[in-house]
């Protein structure tokens, strides 16, 4: 671990001020950052501890939604009565990830910033454009079981590994961000993470010194929500693919559809055309096949992850059948 300086911030403006500058990072739960620092995959000069900031509440918003403070732990968020009642997809997604110990430390804001699990990113002996821009991507042509089928570039094929943000994407949540001089902005979760393009070192849209302060959920849609995570062992494994769904039904037709996918891209994958295709239609296997065709039209395997294309098709169908109460999948 490279020696670093440490500052503890008392409030958000101070945190932002302290963290301004290259190679400065915030630390909250540290569940990902500390691992990466031990390996010197990340080697910040300075850490700004934000754990004393007043961002630990879940409160109701004026438009009937919830505002989750950035320092609300994953455990607290998943266990919150309102989240469990109105946003079960979020609670389930969080509980599908990591372990109890990690969820007790991991925070809402920190989890959004979780970095990829690409094997080559984690191994400093390997070239990696995300870790060391310009050094190359050794994952391409290598072991690609974990890697993206959507939106990859010739610079990077890594995936965003988390679960929580996938549910937030389906729920169309927003990220509140505070920057220098009190400037604040709100970014839809769906736009928060980036595709790698030619800047795979940038996971998301946060600029220098910017701090996530909250995630807001819009009013619940009243739809049926589910989170299905497919993985190599029963627990404590990252998603090979995951599907978050919020599906409303009215008079035998789909009245609301919002789907997001994990383990398949550099960001929680959301395709507005897919939601639009399903909305207003009567559920049927033919419709779901059409939906899968639309979703997977641009899927591109890397060799070791080709199976994700079929896996995602099958999982999507099962989730849609369940959400529309067509019964279990044969």
């Amino acid at each position: 671990m490279k020696p670093f300086t440490y500052a503890r911030a008392a409030d958000t403006p101070e945190a932002v001020r302290e963290a301004s500058g290259p190679s400065h990072d915030f630390i909250a739960g540290g569940t990902n950052l500390l691992d990466l620092m031990k390996l010197e995959v990340m080697a910040p000069d300075k850490l700004v501890d934000i754990n004393r900031l007043d961002l630990k509440q879940i409160s109701e918003t004026e438009d009937g939604g919830l505002r989750i403070g950035a320092l609300v732990t994953n455990s607290d968020c998943a266990a919150d009565d309102r989240i469990r009642r109105d946003y079960p997809v979020l609670s389930r997604a969080i509980l599908a990830g990591a372990s109890g110990q990690l969820r007790n430390k991991a925070t809402t804001g920190g989890n959004l910033c979780q970095r990829t699990r690409c094997y080559y990113f984690y191994d400093t002996a390997m070239p990696c454009n995300k870790r060391e821009p310009g050094s190359g991507c050794q994952a391409i042509g290598g072991a690609t079981r974990l890697h993206a089928i959507f939106g990859a570039s010739d610079q990077c094929i890594a995936t965003y590994p988390g679960d929580m943000a996938v549910a937030m994407s389906a729920l169309d949540a927003s990220v509140e961000i505070e920057g220098k001089d009190g400037a604040s902005r709100t970014v839809p979760v769906r736009d928060f993470h980036r595709l790698p393009g030619d800047r795979p070192d940038k996971d998301n849209v946060l600029e220098d010194g910017e701090l996530i302060t909250a995630v807001t959920l819009p009013a619940p849609t009243g739809g049926r929500q589910s989170y299905r995570k497919v993985r190599d062992r029963a627990s404590y494994a990252f998603a090979l693919v995951s599907v978050a769904a919020d599906i409303g039904m009215e008079d035998g037709k789909i009245s609301h559809a919002a789907l997001a996918f994990g383990g398949v891209a550099h960001k929680p994958w959301h395709k507005p055309e897919l939601d639009a295709l399903l909305t207003g239609k009567e559920p049927s296997d033919a419709l779901f096949a059409e939906a899968a065709d639309l979703l997977l039209a641009e899927a591109q395997g890397q060799g070791g992850n080709n199976f994700k294309i079929l896996l995602l098709r099958r999982t999507l169908r099962a989730v849609l059948r369940e959400a529309t109460q067509m019964g279990e999948t044969a």
């Binding site: 490279k2 390996l39 400093t124 062992r233 029963a234 494994a237 199976f307 896996l311 099958r314």
Partner: protein, 730 residues
């Protein structure tokens, strides 16, 4: 005095069964349990010697070549850094189990990516780790590294003593009514012991003390001495607690030698612990295998031919290869046999002993093939195996020692409810899950090794057992205590067992499942020695000596001893009985799995296992060993795989996040049943090894159940969902 026994005759007098007390076999709690659960058991990293400084190993980041320059100066300027070492005595890879001499040495010649080539020592662990990250090296990279054992440009060798061609297998295959002719592949595995490897070296003058985490001090001390070019008499190794080994701590490894060299130079104790990534990259892997199995059966399902050829790999210059066909030689009948071993020389991490080398993967492929034969011939899998139990060893003509194989098959089937299985695949559903049942046999060779022990009957009537033997979580402390307690007629808490100190009599070490029966026999003999001396002292015939409840006859032991302790020494050596009979342990596994009809995810729902391993010395610790084996089997069947990049041979998934061992949710209730058995040919205590038996075929029960659930036969381990997905029944 010493009671010395060379095992040339079967031990038909079952002494342990004739004693007034029979603590041996009972599920006695581990005497070391309270220390372990309260954190007071001292593991290698926990000695906290005053003035200790920290070393971190640095690896090669290229797969083959030479180190041409190391920029030590830059790292020496970092805060706290005390030294950067790359001594010519550094180890290329750990010593193989029982090597008793140094492995290949020299850090400048790189044979694989991950090879330790330098050690950075600093005041604190964090400083040393940072220095290790910063250390820049220049290489002369060789272009001729080879990384894929199955590639045509890779040199293959055929070890002479592992080639068998008996009768005419090709003719048998033509003549047979049912045949199986398939290739199975298993990937590499890591031992993944909970405690990473660690050594603390400290010197007083020319005397080295090494506190480490090692399974076999009796060999390790010579390996360390040879590596350092010093006398073994000048070394003391301490290893009282070992947090799991599974073969990965059989031979001296890089951290011990590096710590000793640095400590000598710096004049301070040096501790070197491996990170989890280093455990994966520098400690022994289990070789991957390609196994070609041919079975030729007559109309009754009886084998007339059996072929098992294997390709495994290792680094150049290593004698060890995974003995894949070890149990295939004796478990089933069939007069026409061919078994050929091939070893590919690749620039990958060194291959060595990992839990049950040989049978762990060889039995799995064989038991998959037997399941295929059962399916083709329409004979129940349990019945098929029973029909193929040979009367005599089909190659050597030896008889077998105690062999409750058929009993294990029948008892397992009964406990599991095998009669409820539908032999036709893909017939049973539970909601979204395909349900299937599968079974497999277990077999593992039995070995007795030379071992010594000292037992002292103290003047106060308590006893002390001493040997350099290790307890890597297996229960050595418990079983040696139990044997001595019974032999001396003492309650368990009046016996203290001291282990893991190289100054004590040389035990067998823990490995190959031989630790319990070998060291247990040495303790047994030492107690016999005491009994003889005590009888003499009391002026009575040894046969009349009755030791029970802390008394000799009616006299309290302390009174009988009259102020003198009696020291007994025991020494066991293997002899003719290991040649006269094929000695092995046997068992059966029965598994029920669910395979998700949508995703292909497999979850094991039930597992029943029955084992016979001679006298069970402690039902609790033996059962725990078998649980562990079954869990290894689940991991092998579904998850575990060392993933190598074939472009440079580097291990891609070198941590526990991506090398998947089963977690609690992957492991169902496991029913382990141990058969009542005595094997007079195996040891004077009628015990055989049990530690590794639990996984010698276990994975096959799971994968055979996957076939029964889905009708999909996957012959490439592990059976991850991608290998099922496009073949799942609609």
């Amino acid at each position: 005095m010493t009671r010395h026994l060379v095992m040339d005759e079967p031990a038909t007098k079952r002494v342990l069964d004739e004693l007034p007390q029979s603590l041996t076999g009972k599920p006695m709690d581990r005497p070391d349990g309270p220390e372990k659960v309260t954190g007071t058991a001292t593991y290698a990293h926990e000695w906290n010697l005053p003035g200790t400084v920290h070393g971190v190993l640095v690896r090669a980041t290229v797969p083959k070549g030479k180190v041409t320059a190391i920029d030590k100066d830059a790292v020496m300027k970092l805060p706290g850094v005390l030294g950067v070492f790359n001594d010519e005595r550094f180890l290329r890879n750990p010593a193989q189990g029982t090597a008793n001499e140094a492995p290949i040495q020299g850090p400048d010649e790189i044979a694989y990516l991950g090879q330790p080539i330098a050690l950075v020592v600093a005041e604190t662990f964090e400083q040393a780790r940072h220095g290790a990250h910063r250390l820049q090296m220049r290489y002369d990279v060789a272009a001729d590294g080879v990384f894929d054992p199955e590639a045509t440009n890779v040199p293959h060798e055929r070890p002479e003593d592992d080639q068998l061609d008996q009768g005419d297998l090709d003719a048998a295959m033509k003549q047979a009514v049912s045949v199986v002719d398939q290739v199975y592949r298993t990937p590499g595995h890591n031992s993944a012991a909970m405690e990473p490897h660690c050594s603390i070296a400290s010197w007083e003058g020319d005397k080295l003390t090494l506190r480490g985490s090692y399974q076999m001090l009796n060999y390790n001390i010579n390996e360390l001495a040879d590596s350092l070019k010093i006398d073994a008499e000048d070394i003391r190794m301490l290893s009282p607690f070992v947090g799991g080994g599974f073969g990965s701590k059989l031979g001296i490894s890089a951290e011990a030698v590096a710590a000793a060299i640095a400590s000598r130079e710096l004049g301070k104790p040096v501790v070197v612990a491996l990170s989890r990534q280093q455990v994966f990259e520098t400690v022994m892997r289990r070789s991957e295998s390609r196994q070609h199995i041919r079975l030729a059966a007559d109309a009754d399902g009886k084998l007339i031919g059996l072929g098992h050829d294997s390709l495994v790999s290792n680094l150049p210059g290593e004698d060890f290869y995974e003995p894949v066909m070890q149990a295939t030689h004796f478990i089933y009948t069939g007069e026409n046999r061919r078994m050929n071993m091939e070893v590919a020389r690749v620039n990958r991490i060194c291959a060595g002993s990992v839990r049950a080398p040989g049978e762990a993967i060889g039995m799995v492929a064989l038991e998959n093939a037997m399941d295929e034969l059962a399916d083709i011939s329409g004979i129940d899998p349990v019945e098929l195996r029973k029909r193929n139990i040979p009367e005599m060893h089909p190659e050597t003509g030896q008889g077998y020692s105690s062999r409750p194989f058929a009993e294990a098959l029948d008892e397992g089937a009964r406990r599991f409810g095998w009669d409820k299985r539908n032999a036709k695949p893909a017939q049973t559903r539970d909601g979204e899950w395909w349900i299937g049942m599968g079974m497999a046999s277990a077999a593992r060779v039995n070995m007795l090794k030379e071992a010594k022990a000292r037992v002292t009957l103290n003047a106060d009537g308590t006893a002390t057992v001493e040997t350099d033997m290790s307890d890597p979580g297996t229960g050595t402390y418990a079983i040696l205590t139990q044997i001595a307690a019974d032999m001396l007629g003492l309650p368990g808490d009046k016996v203290e067992t001291v282990l893991g100190d190289s100054d004590l009599p040389k035990g067998s070490g823990s490995g190959g499942s031989f630790g319990a029966s070998s060291s247990g026999s040495a303790v047994f003999l030492a107690c016999q020695d005491i009994r003889t001396q005590l009888a003499q002292k009391m002026g009575m015939d040894e046969d009349d000596l009755k030791l029970d409840g802390g008394k000799a006859g009616d006299m309290a032991l302390a009174d009988a001893l009259a102020g003198d302790a009696i020291v007994g020494n025991g020494h066991i050596e293997p002899g003719e009985t290991s040649k006269d009979k094929r000695q092995a342990t046997y068992g059966s596994y029965f598994a029920e799995v669910g395979v998700n009809a949508v995703t292909g995810e497999t979850r094991v729902r039930r597992l029943t296992a029955v084992f016979g391993a001679g006298r069970i010395l402690n039902e609790k610790t033996a059962t725990s060993q078998c649980y562990g084996g079954c869990i290894w089997g689940i991991g092998m069947a579904l998850h575990e795989e060392l993933l190598f990049d074939t472009r440079d041979g580097h291990l891609v998934n070198h941590d526990l996040a991506e090398y998947h061992v089963p977690v609690n949710l992957d492991v169902p209730q496991i029913d382990v049943h141990l058969l009542e058995e005595r094997d007079d040919w195996a040891s004077p205590i009628q015990a055989k090894g049990i530690g590794e038996l639990g996984l010698c075929g276990a994975a096959a029960a799971v994968t055979n159940a996957i076939y029964n659930a889905t009708g999909v036969r996957v012959r490439e381990y592990p059976v991850t969902l991608d290998k099922l997905l496009d073949q799942l029944p609609e």
